[in-house]
């Protein structure tokens, strides 16, 4: 062939699809055909710079050159400008990996996401995939668990429990059957990292779960994915099929005596199923009501057997820990928060997306250096960190380093690293009311403080917003929050007071406005 074959990358990530990536890919294919240019289009995951989606990349001798956001109608102009050679254009951003947002990150868990073809085992192998598993296959279970413990990895789903200690409990439990369950019920607003890695690097999750299985002697695993994620479900199912084909799953993993079978199960729109015991009930085919602990799932989990329940990002951090060693991972981070976290900049933010950074980065750096402030151009008034059960924080706390203990000290949480940004048009009393409303809608109903407390919480907030006996109702609200915090069975009821109380603490002026004053504004 006289003309070199060009390679163009167009993401297949759901966020990219939501702004027309399929249409952009189709337009590139049509335009190339029209011009008689041979072209290979790879549908990669997302690089995580979501404001640039659809981010089209072109392979050049210098590296991949980025163009975005590319709409279908921009495609002909890109061809005219010579984008296949990496030429300049109004939408050009130069080499993708030199874009400051990307270059300043520390990508460990997301190292391959957006780079490879998510459904190519070959591509995965070429970029270091399955090296962690290969090393694990040559180790004893106890050695694998020690490696994970020494890495300092803590649960990335939000609770931050040390992963190695959980694994060790399951390893030491005696049972005829053990399970690995991946919690991919990523229901918190402001989080999408689980979804992105499942769509962009699904073999990484399969590898992490297989290592976990070998470490504790489990032979069956389930990935519980929420039904709101049809793309992630489809990608994971296809990746599992390919992994079986290539003997990375099944009865003789990669020619060894190890056996591990993996299946995807789909949730059904219940937020509470992100709570681990509720998820186990759901996997068993029951109502997703919370179980009392103890017994811990590590001892009596799925179908009453010892079970590892880990979040997607905990499990997808395991392959690199096994590949590069515990020290490599532990060298990132601060204090007792080791490694990196995939921060997710969401809501009213100019440059929304994934920022994988070592712990210790401040909110200010994330919001301004990476995020670029609000998309509306107005000042940031509040951020909610760590999901719907996380605290609302004012700008005076933005210098706080992202570290589990530093956040806990101000009654906030790092959680899973999701950060939702609000500009100065936000009404914090309304946000506090929503926290209660959400809890009322999504409570599993098992314990009274959560089931009834949330309903009462909405009523009390309605009275406060209407300006009725405001001080007396705020006292009542604080009492109610105390009952929910102390008396609820799980984090749903127990932590719903966090956004409510933080809104009240940092933004009290929003709770004492009379309706007349609001109307006059």
């Amino acid at each position: 062939m006289s003309e070199p074959l060009h390679t163009v990358y167009v993401p297949r990530d759901a966020a990219a699809l939501s702004v027309g990536a399929d249409e952009t890919a189709a337009a590139i294919r049509a335009e190339a055909n029209k011009r008689g240019i041979p072209l290979r289009i790879v549908r990669n995951g997302s690089r995580g710079m979501l404001w640039l989606e659809t981010l089209v990349e072109v392979e050049t001798p210098e590296g991949r050159v980025a163009y975005g956001p590319v709409m279908a109608e921009d495609v002909a102009g890109l061809f005219d400008a010579g984008f296949l050679e990496g030429a300049d254009h109004a939408l050009a951003h130069g080499l993708t990996e030199k874009i400051p947002y990307f270059a300043k990150q520390e990508r460990l868990t997301f190292a391959r996401c957006g780079i490879i073809d998510p459904l190519s085992v070959e591509d995965y192998r070429l970029h270091g995939g399955f090296r962690g598993l290969e090393r694990a296959l040559a180790m004893t279970p106890a050695e694998i668990v020690t490696e994970v413990t020494e890495s300092g990895l803590r649960g990335r789903g939000g609770a931050g429990f040390p992963t190695g200690i959980k694994w060790n409990t399951v390893l030491n439990a005696r049972a005829d059957q053990k399970y690995i369950c991946c919690n991919a019920d990523e229901g918190d607003s402001g989080t999408f990292a689980d979804r992105m890695i499942m769509e962009g690097d699904p073999f990484c999750l399969i590898e992490g779960m297989t290592i976990a299985a070998i470490a504790v002697g489990a032979t069956e695993g389930y990935i519980y994915i929420r039904s709101e994620y049809p793309h992630a479900v489809a990608t994971m199912r296809e990746a599992i099929r390919l992994a079986y084909d290539e003997k990375w799953l099944g009865d003789e993993i990669h020619g060894t005596g190890h056996r591990f079978h993996l299946d995807v199960r789909v949730g059904a729109g219940a937020y509470i199923c992100g709570e681990e015991t509720s998820m186990l009930e759901s996997l068993e085919g029951k109502r997703g009501t919370v179980r009392a602990k103890p017994p811990l799932p590590a001892l009596e989990g799925l179908f009453g057997k010892p079970t590892i329940v880990n979040n997607v990002l905990s499990l997808t951090s395991v392959p690199i820990i096994l590949d590069k060693g515990a020290n490599h991972y532990r060298d990132f981070g601060v204090g007792r928060s080791r490694g990196t976290l995939a921060f997710q900049l969401a809501g009213n933010i100019k440059h929304g997306g994934i920022v994988e950074k070592a712990f210790g980065v401040t909110l200010h750096e994330l919001l301004y250096e990476f995020g670029g402030g609000t998309i509306t151009g107005r000042p940031i008034r509040a951020v909610q960190a760590g999901g719907p059960l996380g605290a609302y924080l004012p700008p005076s706390l933005f210098e706080l380093p992202k570290d589990y203990e530093a956040f806990a000290a101000v009654e906030a949480m790092v959680g899973h690293g999701g950060i939702v940004v609000f500009d100065d048009s936000v009404d914090m009393a309304k946000q506090a009311r929503f926290a209660m409303e959400f809890c009322a809608a999504e409570s599993c109903g098992k314990c009274t403080p959560c089931r009834i407390g949330a309903v009462r919480g909405v009523e009390v907030m309605d009275n406060i917003i209407a300006g009725e006996k405001v001080q007396a109702n705020i006292t009542l609200l604080n009492d109610l929050c105390e009952v929910m915090t102390d008396g609820s069975l799980c984090a749903m009821g127990g932590m719903t007071p966090i956004p409510v109380r933080s809104a009240l603490k940092h933004f009290p002026e929003d709770f004492t406005r009379s309706p007349a004053a609001v109307a006059a504004e």
């Binding site: 702004v19 989080t191 039904s227 085919g285 939702v420």
Partner: protein
């Protein structure tokens, strides 16, 4: 496009049997039935109870627990609008008001022409491109009122072209 096949006991029995081998099979069976009929028909409850050796109350309890399972047939398309915090920060409330006025329905209702059922949802995982809407299984980001109108128009146009 939602499947909305009329109820058939034979078809339901076959759908249930296809998932019999799974452990904790009730949720996969319910998903498969909804994919076939568009909802969990009342007639399906005793079939599931018999298959799984559960009481009808147990099955009903599971169906009613999960927001996703419907008890009546939806319109031809389902529109899910995100109501959660990230979308709120980008004025999802304004978008929802527009949608209610435009479609002349509230949440959990179906338009008079049977084209769209409107459902609220807490998070579609598209929080950096808020507000987000899902039409059937197609996700949309940065949905303004004008873009919403264009999306529904194109959904109907695609359907008419078939």
């Amino acid at each position: 496009m939602n499947a909305r096949s009329p109820w058939s006991e034979d078809r339901a029995t076959a759908v249930i049997a296809a998932n019999r081998h799974l452990r904790g099979a009730l949720l996969p069976m319910l998903h498969a039935l909804q994919e076939e009929f568009g909802c969990i028909d009342e007639e399906a409850i005793p079939l599931l109870a018999r298959e799984l050796n559960l009481s009808r109350a147990d099955v009903h309890g599971v169906v009613s627990f999960y927001h996703e399972f419907r008890r009546s047939r939806p319109g031809r398309h389902t529109i899910k609008v995100c109501r959660a915090e990230a979308c709120q920060s980008m004025n999802a409330d304004g978008l929802i008001e527009h949608i209610r006025r435009r479609l002349k329905v509230d949440f959990h209702e179906t338009t008079a022409d049977d084209a769209f059922s409107l459902e609220p949802v807490f998070c579609l995982g598209n929080c950096a491109l808020a507000p987000a809407v899902m039409v059937d299984e197609t996700l949309h980001g940065r949905v303004s009122p004008a873009r919403f109108d264009a999306i529904t128009a194109s959904t109907l146009a695609t359907e008419a072209a078939r």
